[in-house]
Symmetry: C2
Subunit: 214 residues, 2 copies
């Protein structure tokens, strides 16, 4: 049974799922929900995802939502290659790195929050940019610090292949560049990203390589 | 080996861990990091948690951070009683409900974000309150909608005992009341909370029952 990914080429959370599915070699179909034209606020989409968010992963009759939950499901459904280490404390470490992006960085400056800051709080485009910079730098700096002190023998954040932390990191770096955040302070994260992007499975997941990319 | 919880009575993320540990009957020690006096920004604490956040769970030599990661570790380390269903798709459903709070609700209006809105964006106390209301209502409404359409035979959100979704929900409701959010639109969530608070394990975890409560 082939999963169907309802996403958008520029959605960071959809990009997470594409990386995970591709790394595991899972075939899936894609349906684009155009965030630019507001399709996520349509009645049809709200009936599928009441928050008006993407992505959703359809698997048979099940509509799976919330990328952190879907990623855990993907890991349970197709355990190999693993995105999480086998050692319980190391699993916790990698999940914590993922949560620094998934909880403390991405949600506080995603599209709906930036619109609220720019429009509703009257901060305008410059205020939106400053807000995006602040929390992106904050989150990436924490992750850089934690990863850099951890012993590693490859450019990947943990182990010898991309894992859950990279699944969260790569979309956040795309977002950071879109806002012109200076990434030179995060050499460990940049090296991990470069190692990931050298893999065809990850290349096929990037925003610009999606059918709905503009 | 007894875990040590570094937290704060009013920290919602520390409250999550107390509920989970108590439901599983795990004994632990507590160390208070006083967020009111700014202890989380001290050099000593930043050396333990570079983001300056609580909670941290110390287990032997390991310092576990990020409550979503710690909760998964607790579930793996002490599987019974389970906080997640055994069916993979139902696990995904409960984790998604948890993520609606853990990613889309809590982080966007926690203390550091509210301070930034109130002080740095010049919105003042009224603006902070409006920001807290907006995203709290948004997140709770999504959760209420999703849970209410899901067949249940108990007041709990899923199954016949509190699980991961309640672990996230209860602290968010404390936070909502602190900001005087009208909760009458969320009867399903309120009923689940009441059923949880009738349990001694949950009662012992509430903010007001902690040694550092003021």
């Amino acid at each position: 049974m082939k999963p169907v990914l309802y996403g958008y080429w520029r959605s960071g959370a959809a990009y997470r799922l594409r990386i995970a599915l591709n790394l595991k070699g899972i075939e899936y179909d894609q349906v684009a929900i155009n965030l630019k034209t507001g399709e996520q606020k349509s009645d049809a989409w709200l009936a599928m995802q009441p928050q008006g968010l993407v992505p959703v992963l359809k698997y048979g009759d099940a509509m799976l939502m919330q990328s952190p939950a879907i990623l855990e499901w993907i890991e349970e459904r197709w355990p190999q290659p693993a995105l999480l280490p086998s050692d319980p404390l190391e699993r916790c470490r990698v999940r914590a790195w993922a949560a620094i992006i998934g909880c403390d960085t991405h949600p506080v400056q995603n599209l709906r929050i930036l619109k609220a800051v720019g429009d509703d709080l009257g901060q305008g485009p410059a205020g939106m940019k400053a807000w995006a910079h602040r929390w992106t730098r904050d989150g990436l700096a924490a992750l850089e610090t934690l990863v850099a002190v951890h012993p590693r023998s490859t450019p990947f954040l943990h182990g010898d292949a991309p894992g859950l932390a990279e699944v969260y990191l790569l979309p956040q770096l795309v977002n950071a560049r879109r806002w012109e955040v200076d990434l030179s302070a995060f050499p460990t994260l940049m090296a991990a990203e470069a190692a990931c992007l050298a893999l065809p499975a990850v290349q096929r997941a990037t925003p610009e390589n999606q059918p709905d990319a503009e």
